[in-house]
């Protein structure tokens, strides 16, 4: 047996590169050579639970076992990075409320569809709902706001709607007081019903899964922020190609402040909207 070291929990590294490539192919998430250890750390509990001594055994399970699909959901939970908070990078959301929606509604028939993916534990779509509500959009127009994440645990948390202090670190106190109620056990806050009902659906969707994204990818506006920083270049191209193929034209794609589609695609053109940038489908 592999000697137990505090850092390896008694697991051998054999198969970790193979596992890394398999995770990449399936989820788009990429752990380059220096971060492979981080992948091992996140998956170790799953490996140990199966009674395996190496990542190679777990690789075979994920790739070939009949029960692999259920295991993949647990893998997505283990790997998803849930660091987010309310009112994060709100300039883009204000741009939707102040500039995009008026333009869209001039030419639009039917509802305006907005998709937040990945939504993590819900902070992003709820923030967008707050901003659109403050601008009175839900009363004036038919807006469908959908949210999804690759992690079932994250989506469950979003549905549960329980948030603690750090989630509110950027949210103006007045907004928190208006849209959230403290929980009686003093273990956080929950959003008011008026807010949560603005999000039409919460779903588990893997951005690499063509079937899974189909109900949502035809949206007029897509928020896909801070996902690509964890993806390889190839995975980003695949995801963006799907958006380009399926979104209506014009369609608006928002990515994170540290992300760029330069050298990924020519199907979107970058446009400045006040203090925000958006990629517009040609």
């Amino acid at each position: 047996m592999t000697p137990f070291e505090p850092d390896n929990l008694g697991l051998t590294d054999a198969g970790l590169p193979l596992l890394r490539d398999l995770v990449h192919e399936r989820t788009g998430l990429f752990y380059e050579n220096g971060r492979c250890e981080s992948l091992g750390e996140r998956l170790a509990p799953l490996v140990i639970e199966h009674g395996f001594h190496s990542y190679l055994d777990f690789y075979y399970l994920l790739k070939f076992d009949e029960g692999a699909e259920a295991e993949w959901r647990r893998v997505m939970d283990a790997l998803s990075v849930q660091e987010t908070y309310f009112w994060r990078e709100v300039d883009q959301m204000h741009a939707v409320a102040d500039q995009l929606l008026p333009d869209l509604l001039k030419a639009h028939r039917g509802p305006v569809r907005i998709w937040s993916a990945p939504c993590a534990s819900g902070e992003e779509p709820l923030t967008l709902a707050m901003i659109l509500n403050e601008a009175g959009w839900f009363e004036r127009a038919d807006i469908e706001l959908h949210a999804s994440d690759g992690s079932a645990t994250a989506v469950a948390k979003a549905r549960e709607g329980r948030y603690r202090g750090r989630a509110f670190r950027a949210l103006p106190p007045a907004m928190r007081d208006k849209y959230f109620i403290p929980l009686t056990d003093q273990e956080g806050w929950r959003p008011v019903r008026e807010l949560t009902e603005k999000v039409r659906s919460w779903s588990v969707v893997n951005l690499m899964d063509q079937v899974g994204v189909e109900p949502f990818v035809h949206s007029d506006v897509i928020f896909c922020r801070n996902a690509f920083i964890y993806f390889s270049a190839d995975s980003i191209r695949r995801a963006v190609a799907t958006f380009a193929e399926k979104m209506p034209s014009p369609g608006y794609l928002f990515v994170g402040a540290a992300e760029s589609l330069l050298s990924v695609t020519d199907r979107f053109v970058l446009r400045e909207l006040g203090r925000a940038f958006v990629y517009v489908k040609r």
Binding site: P6, D7, L9, P45, K63, F64, E83, R166
Partner: protein
Amino acid sequence: MNDSPSGAHSDDTDRRIGLLTTDLDLVVKSWDKSLERMTGIPADTVKGRRLEEVVPDLHARGLLDVLREPLVSGAAQVLAPAIHKFLIPCPPLEPSPEFDRMQQRVVIGALRDDQRAVGLVVTIEDVTTRMERERELGRRLRDAEPAERLAAIEQLSRLSSIDGLGPLGDAIADDHWQVRRAAVRAIAGRTDAALVDTIVAALREGHRDFSVLSSALQLLTLTGLDLTRSLIGLLEDSDADLRVQAALGLGSQRNPEATTALIGALDDDDSNVCFHAIEALGKLRAGAAVQRLVAIAQSRDFFLAFPAVESLVQIGDPSSAASLVPLLGDPMLSASVAEALGRIGDEDAIPALVDALRSEDSPVVALVGAIASIHHRQVELVGDGAAIEDLVRRTIDPSALDRILNSVGQAEGDALRQLIVVVSWLKGEAIPRALATLLGRTSVHHNVVEALVRFGAPAVELLIAQLSDEDLNTRRSAVIALGRIGDRRAVPALVSLLASDDRDLLVHIEGALSRIGDARAFEPLLLRLGDDDAAVRQAAIGALNSIGDPRMGARMAQLLDDSNPRVRESAVRIAGYFGYADCVEALVRSCSDADEGVRVAALEHLPFLEGEDDRAIRLLQHALERDSPRARAGAARALGDMGTKPHALLKRALADADPWVRYFAAVSLGRLGDPAAVTLLQPLAESDPARPVRVAAVEAIGLLGGDEAPTILSELTAAREDDLANAAVRALGRLRAASSGATLRSVLRSPDARRRATAVAAIAAWAHEESVDLLSWTAASDADRSVASAAMAGLVTLAASPAPIAERAVEALTAALADGARHEEAVARLAKIPPSAIPWLAPRLDADNPDIRRGVVEALGRMSHPTASAYLQRALDDGDALVRKRAVSVLARLGTRGVIQRLAQMARADASPAVREAATHAMARRHFVDRPVTERAEGDAAQ
């Protein structure tokens, strides 16, 4: 026949090339006269229209994506007429017996405005006549008479290449040796000067739009045509804009022949020309230009000094670093010079960089970054950066330290990482406080933890305080750092945190307690043995094993009967690991526990109970026959740890209904090492319905070997499933059977790069004489860089083999030094060969090629091995100045004793000014200067 300015002769007449440009939406913006003539389509009927309208079947022919590709990836596209025939359908200009449409060779590239793509530039060449000729000559190449075939080759050699080798490719394999030889010579001698001249002339006459000219030149460069002579001619043009474009183009060509002309262009009256000439010299890595570029940098010319510094970096001559150091004091240039020193400087630049930090408005981030970069390079080259760390620590000014710590709060990314690295070398109370604020930054938390661990005990109280921070990442990093520091003062706080059930941290806390190994954690850790999370339990087990408390045996004896099955399971793992005598019977009973997890753990630990082999086998057999699939799998795995040979039991397990039982049975058979088991494994490898079982069987066969193994594995290398095929290839390599060569060669020709990479690793493991040839060929020619690089790595592995193979492997690596594209990698690889292989490398100091000799010098220098250093001194007498200069630099870096007098002599009298300068510089280095002259001379005399 045309005589082009470049001097090449060609049979090509009437070269017809047209050019069009589009915007990003593929709307035609320009359509030149040549294209009008070729296609019969007037420009005014197409300008302003989308290309898909002009050529409606572009999409159907799959050409739309090809046209867009340069806009997406920047890579130029070439449409070969053999495949695509044409872009714009039109009849040939003269009736053709072979073609009813004009055959066109098309090159498509991005049209750029500054660096931004603004559309496409497309050149379309009418190659109809040439293709007719080629076909005709190709038919003559199939003539029965060698003389006819030779004549055809001679005529083909005078035709410029349309598309690859054409008919000459087949002629390489001709039966007649003279025909083959003529074909090879014809291919080697091909030139496309006529095309070059035609396009350059066309651009010069017709395109004063310089973005078009620039894009077209880039396009031509990307197709591999050599424009050097034509562009050198343009450098003399009266039009400054054309001279600018010529300099730009020469930089893209990267042909060293342009160096002299470009150095001349540094005196151009037009500063834009000078600017681009400077940049071009950098791209050419023109060592001959170093002195001029240093002078330009030192001139502090606002427009030219920056590119001069950047080009010096690209040229990478460390000797220019010393000339740049004085510029650290120039406010305009200091940041740029600091970055440059970071990239090409060595430890001699460190004092100046540290000194520059004293200034209030110094570019702190750039200076610290340079120090960190030089340190990193030193560690990479020679394995140790302690001298630099010590130097910085001793000489840094308190005000500089304050400035560095202030910058920490504002920096991001790599800059922040470098600041943290340098800060970690220093002392001062403020340092751990500054670092602690970064514990929560996920992008740098590894660096911060390292830095705080280096700080050690003085940081402990501060880290303990961070354990109650609101931010999870901060708490986690603090836990990890405390574990690695290993100070027992942290134990109460860690134990308290363990009890607080901070779920995200439990595994890390247990890891930290494991490292510290303090008995105060014993009881709290026991409470975690029943946790629902398997990783938490596992980490608690590990921590308890690490603490090794004398109370453990007695406690485990109790816990083996605990009501919680998770606790019992954990107790089994601990008691099984230590083999407590008092726990043996309880462990045996655990094999029939009501809980599956307990049974599995107990079965897996049976092989480690001393003196219990017979009982263990019976219990494992019982489990294999009657227990759940998971327990049966555990039993199969445990059998692999039995010293006795339980083949009969494992044979039965190979037929189990559950794939994981079969899987672990195969793994166990492989570990037991009896080749007789191959016959049991073969049917599984060939046809088990579960792929992991097949792979495990293949790997086991590879471990066991035997007469049949190579044949079985060879067949499986052709399996469709990648995992299976790759496992078979790897296993073949490990077997080292002489007969594996044919199969491994075949896999090396796979169209799949990953399969080839697996073959490369297997061939290296095979360690056969033929391995060297196969790996050298792959390193030189594989289209995939990662495969080629893996082949170089394989050669390094072979350098550790017995003599003939090691010697040939080293020879193959040194041959790669002659290839400019692979020189740097070859040096890096050679520096990693084992000391036993150094004697095979040293004779290459006498190679004919100076690039090889220079590379050998550098590789020997990086080894930091006394034998290597001894050989280096020979290179001081090399006939080539660049080799001598490199030897001087390397020996100076190593601080080799016994060379000071030789260096002094070279500083005075070497024939090359550059070598004299390098030797002078070397003499001034610290480790030579620090020793008094008399001591140096006496020491050297003693050598």
